[in-house]
């Protein structure tokens, strides 16, 4: 549940430098996860429109494979969609996902709204990424075209920047 006061309509994803809005959401039918629980280490928030998108190009399946790389930075990955907890449980089980999927279900999309990534007409979130530092400040955000899996390169570059490491490879 969101405990915060209502947020004004979003005009795009919250940008780097802003404090990450607090939230507490169900991670399983009987467990809640609060952003505050993850303080002290980087957090990757991956908003996505829905469970059960096509298999091989699936963003969550890709991130599941990248977990060891994320963990090398001490970063915790959290997926968020407006799907319900039982849907998440079935999806995570079938795809063997090893990170929490949070249910932004009631009030619907409240966390997505707070981060500026709710799609009013669809009732889902955008496909959007946030990297939050250990102090709870957004350090990088990215809005992906809805149908395009954004991959992990942007997240890894952001984690590099957080760690003060030189960026690997050249990107334009």
């Amino acid at each position: 549940m969101m405990s915060d006061t209502p947020h004004p309509p979003a005009s795009g994803p919250l940008e780097a430098g802003r404090p990450a809005p607090a939230f507490t959401l169900p991670a399983t039918p009987d467990q809640q996860l609060a952003l505050a629980d993850l303080r002290g280490k980087p957090v990757i928030l991956a908003f996505y429109p829905a469970d059960w998108s096509p298999v091989c190009g699936d963003q969550m399946v890709l991130y599941n494979e990248v977990l060891p790389e994320f963990h090398r930075y001490g970063a915790q990955l959290v997926g968020i969609s407006t799907d319900g907890v039982w849907c998440h449980a079935a999806f995570a089980g079938e795809r063997r996902l090893h990170f929490p999927l949070l249910s932004d279900f009631e009030p619907k999309g409240a966390v997505a709204r707070a981060y500026g990534v709710y799609r009013e007409h669809d009732g889902t979130s955008e496909r959007a990424l946030f990297v939050i530092d250990g102090e709870g400040i957004i350090r990088w955000s990215y809005l992906s075209p809805l149908g395009l899996n954004p991959g992990a390169d942007g997240i890894l570059d952001a984690l590099d920047a957080l760690a003060g490491a030189p960026q690997q490879g050249a990107r334009s």
């Binding site: 992990a152 490879g169 990107r171």
Partner: protein, 176 residues
């Protein structure tokens, strides 16, 4: 624009002339059905482009989704160690319905891979190399399989043979 990182090098598995004007890189998973669909397409492209195309395959096994993808990649690297990577690659894509360990062992026998070497591959002998492929893919913006790069640039177009051939011909024209 997502660029291939690292660029193609001597460590890569490649087919076709090194000085071909066009290099096509595939990040693939042997158990991914879409990679299976891409397999004959790439064969056709190689035929159409002939010695104007160099093809490179890099490992991108999504082992959580595809339980046999990891061992299949390890088997292919064991084949590479005896110079038979492409035969292994083709065998795997032609038998995507039979990638269990027993099947892989029979393919290994057919290729002349020592059973002990296959075991060592399953135990991780080539995992560092597979990991390098995978990490490079992540850095290059690979977001699923198959992901294709044409002369270092990610190809986001259609996977139909005609569209791909157009893209390759264009790259060849640009390369002069």
């Amino acid at each position: 624009m997502k660029m291939l990182t690292p660029p193609v090098g001597p460590e890569d598995h490649m087919q076709g002339p090194e000085d071909a004007p066009v290099t096509l890189v595939e990040y693939g998973d042997y158990e991914c059905p879409y990679c299976g669909e891409m397999y004959p397409v790439i064969k056709a492209l190689q035929q159409a482009m002939d010695d104007r195309l160099r093809f490179v395959f890099r490992n991108f096994p999504l082992t959580g989704a595809h339980p046999h993808a990891g061992h299949a990649a390890q088997f292919s690297e064991a084949a590479a160690a005896i110079g038979r990577f492409w035969e292994a690659h083709d065998l795997l894509y032609e038998h995507q319905d039979a990638l269990d360990d027993a099947s892989l062992a029979s393919y290994a026998q057919a290729l002349g891979i020592d059973p002990a070497d296959l075991e060592a591959a399953f135990d991780g002998r080539f995992d560092a190399r597979i990991r390098v492929d995978f990490s490079g893919g992540l850095r290059s913006g690979v977001n699923g399989t198959p992901s294709l790069f044409i002369n270092g640039r990610r190809y986001d177009g259609a996977h139909e043979p005609e569209a791909l051939l157009d893209a390759l011909e264009l790259a060849a024209a640009v390369a002069g």
